[in-house]
């Protein structure tokens, strides 16, 4: 009888321990990433296995994040982007959009959250933080989440076109480059 009780207790502890872990996902890149100077062309910020910090809600296979069960989730993301050029006059500006997508290559693709930063004045060659605030959304099992950048057509000058230049980068004095957080509500 006692042994049975101990087994029950151990089983219960495992169950409770599982519940105690926050059902969320956090992935971030520590590597800088190059962007092409192609206005309006979506460019994906790709993550790798080593970028996964914490994952209790989905799968990360072949650079794809998918959620394992349906529900209400909170999603937020960020990227620190430096166009790598100086403006020639105060009228110049570069407009960059950062957005999170669901199922980007499927018919039911959807933008889940977006933000735009307008580089102007002297801030062209400074990494700016583009932040997508937390937003509640509904996801189905197997939905894929990805992070994208787009240079908007209202941009008046080119970003740095050198293939060696990495626009998504560490801002001076910080380690953070780009990331996504997904939390189940």
């Amino acid at each position: 009888m006692r042994i049975k009780n101990i087994f029950s207790l151990v089983f219960l502890l495992f169950c409770i321990h599982g519940f105690a872990q926050e059902p969320s996902l956090y992935i971030r890149s520590l590597r800088s990433i190059h962007l092409e100077n192609k206005p309006l062309v979506p460019q994906q910020i790709k993550f790798r296995d080593v970028d996964m910090v914490y994952n209790k809600i989905g799968q990360f296979l072949n650079e794809r994040i998918t959620v394992s069960s349906p529900g209400t989730f909170e999603i937020s993301a960020f990227a620190n982007i430096n166009p790598g050029v100086m403006g020639s006059s105060s009228k110049d500006s570069i407009h960059i959009e950062l957005y999170v997508m669901k199922n980007h290559n499927q018919p039911d693709k959807q933008v889940l959250g977006t933000t735009v930063f307008k580089y102007s004045y002297g801030n062209f060659d400074v990494a700016a933080g583009l932040m997508i605030p937390p937003k509640e959304i509904q996801l189905q099992q197997g939905d894929e989440i990805s992070l994208w950048v787009k240079i908007l057509p209202s941009t008046t000058i080119d970003i740095n076109k050198s293939l060696k230049y990495h626009h998504i980068t560490k801002p001076t004095g910080m380690e953070q480059i780009a990331g996504i957080r997904i939390a189940k509500k």
């Binding site: 321990h17 926050e22 969320s24 910090v53 004045y121 002297g122 700016a128 933080g129 932040m131 001076t172």
Partner: protein, 192 residues
């Protein structure tokens, strides 16, 4: 009966684990002087024990001066800074300032959760709310965590930057911070 009581306490302790967190908010004002090229210098936000809203994460008593991570694990960190560069010198120059939570150990002092805010001609002399959205990091037992501002990449010295509130709304939240232990799992990777 003994078994049931024992079980109850075990369940209670595990349930409590899921809620270990620290929440702080204040309307306190603090002035910073940020200098060009000094992005390695962290200007720490002063904290007051009276402004702790909730704490069952850190060991804090009357002698405590630092927030020391109590155990290895994954922590979710969020913060908010109400900040005014209070200057007219950024204009068309560089104005990148970093806001976040720093981990401090013997050989390490770096942001583990942070936001870069770019100030320019349009917002150089007004309060902006800078959010550090929830960030998950692995922290080791014994490291100290503290909120800080640093100069990032700026073109001019910024004297008298204010973390605080507008005169008309002195009771706003000038700074808040939330740290939650979300898992005690082991990790061997470097997380920031």
């Amino acid at each position: 009966m003994k078994n049931i009581v024992f079980l109850f306490f075990i369940v209670l302790s595990f349930t409590a684990f899921g809620q270990q967190s620290f929440y702080y908010k204040t309307n306190m004002q603090q002035i910073f002087n940020l200098r060009v090229g000094m992005h390695n210098v962290f200007h720490y936000v002063k904290m007051d024990k009276q402004d702790i809203v909730k704490n069952d994460l850190f060991v804090i008593d009357e002698n405590t001066e630092k927030l020391v991570i109590p155990k290895n694990g994954f922590y979710e960190i969020a913060a908010s800074f109400n900040f005014n560069p209070s200057t007219s010198v950024i204009k068309f120059n560089r104005g990148g300032i970093n806001f976040g939570i720093v981990q401090i150990s013997e050989d390490n002092e770096q942001y583990v959760a942070a936001t870069r805010k770019s100030f320019d001609k349009d917002n150089q002399d007004m309060f902006s709310q800078i959010e550090v959205y929830p960030t998950i990091v692995y922290l080791q037992k014994g490291v100290v965590v503290a909120p800080a501002v640093n100069s990032g990449l700026i073109g001019n010295v910024l004297l008298g930057c204010v973390l605080g509130c507008k005169k008309k709304n002195k009771n706003c939240i000038s700074f808040s911070m939330n740290i939650k232990l979300i898992s005690e799992e082991d990790a061997y990777q470097k997380y920031f």
